[in-house]
Amino acid sequence: MAFTLVELLVVIAIIGTLVGLLLPAVQAAREAARRSSCSNNLKQLAIAALNYESAYRQFPVGVYQGVGPTGYQWPGTANYRRTSFCLFIYPFIEMQAAYDLYDKTSQAQGFFRGYLSDANSIKAKKTACSQWQCPSDREAVIDDSLWGAGTGAIKGNYGLNWGRNTWSSQGSASPFRNAYGGKPKDILDGTGKTLMMMEMLKPETLSKEYRAWLWSDECDAYALMTRVQPNSSDADRTKDFCVNEPGRLPCTIVAAGSQSVASRSMHAGGVNVSLCDGAVRFISDTVDLTTWQSLSGMADGSTVGEY
């Protein structure tokens, strides 16, 4: 006996309902996989930073900016370079080739001559680095908008714990700041109770933006604050320019020095963070602000409860 029209309609309705239930579940499973891959990257970077600590007895410096006449003086040379955090980690995440390409000896004239014109250094800065990309976020695009064609560098999804207030006024010391990388003995609150790295989002890459720019020593590039909870609707405070993306990457322009960028992700309800002991945790958007800020201080004497 053949099916009647009504029977077919009923079957189609049931199948439609089941697929309707299934699709969001599939999407959720895909995002769960991306989130897992994302936190794995964070774990790799945390282990790399700890390996760096084993080799040099301190964490890599947050950034070298404005140290010496024109930048950081590379050890054993008369050369000053402004240098971003990620370079120091590269040998520990199998990025030795890019590390070697980056010219650490050329005499910088003015600010960062090599940063803008040295072909090998630019090549190093454009080298894709999968460990620094969170698959939940948009693709990394080389951003040439700031200083013209050829000067761009990759952006990434993991930034440093820079304290609880602004770039120049941390509020309470964190393991990273200009020309400083924490030693475990400085982390009095305990390495398991102090943040190391947090997630950040890449902005729309074809416009002038500092945020998520790994290779920049700018204060708003990858220095992340716990001034507000993760994924807050409160605007990031950036210098000179920014592209306001309400709901994703809100921002407002402030005077130099008071930059403050929050940790953000595309995961529902929170961000991945790593702690100074290498642990990776998921922190909720509604984490208690005092707890969140205590986690960023390395010697603020606060005890961190459950979170």
């Binding site: 600010f111 200083w147 994924n231 807050s232 405070r237 709901g247 208690d288 602000l289």
Partner: protein, 159 residues
């Protein structure tokens, strides 16, 4: 009862076709309801906040407002455009007392070198007195019952 009897789980191949079988789709309704209702989240509600901001009588064209918890709460904020702001309810503050900070900046008129010493760019400076941001005394109480509308008339002249 009559309805219930007809509305058995569908063994569609065997049942003789009756127009009233359409009603059997309704046994799915509770499952659909469950699927929709199962997504509620715990914790205090997050609330939408709106308002208008003027500076010396003029709507503030471009800036940002922050609601920072004075006690327990979730920090929230919004950018100000054309004198108005809307804090998205999905990422809004939870009920409680909040400090309010309002910031805006504009070119100071000076041209400065960018930090690479390459190009000249317009230096930006704050146009809002610090008593509305860094040293703010503005406080609000966000309530679950609303309306959570807060308008601000800021003045650059010293009080």
């Amino acid at each position: 009862m009559k309805h219930k009897k007809r509305c058995q789980p569908p063994n569609l191949g065997n049942l003789p076709a009756q127009p009233s079988q359409v009603a059997c789709i309704w046994w799915l309704a509770p499952f659909l309801l469950l699927a929709v209702a199962g997504c509620g989240s715990g914790g205090p509600p997050r609330l939408r906040v709106v308002g208008a901001v003027t500076l010396d009588g003029q709507p503030l064209a471009d800036g940002a407002i922050s609601f920072l918890p004075a006690g327990k709460g979730v920090a929230a904020g919004a950018t100000i455009a054309g004198g108005r702001y809307v804090v998205d309810g999905a990422r809004g503050p939870t009920p409680g007392e909040y400090r309010v900070e309002i910031r805006a900046s504009a070119p100071s008129g000076k041209q400065v070198k960018d930090s690479f010493g390459q190009a000249s760019i317009a230096e930006m400076e704050s146009i809002i007195p610090t008593r509305y941001n860094d040293k703010t005394t503005l406080r609000v109480e966000i309530t679950a019952s609303g309306p959570n509308q807060f308008d601000y008339s800021l003045s650059t002249s010293p009080e």
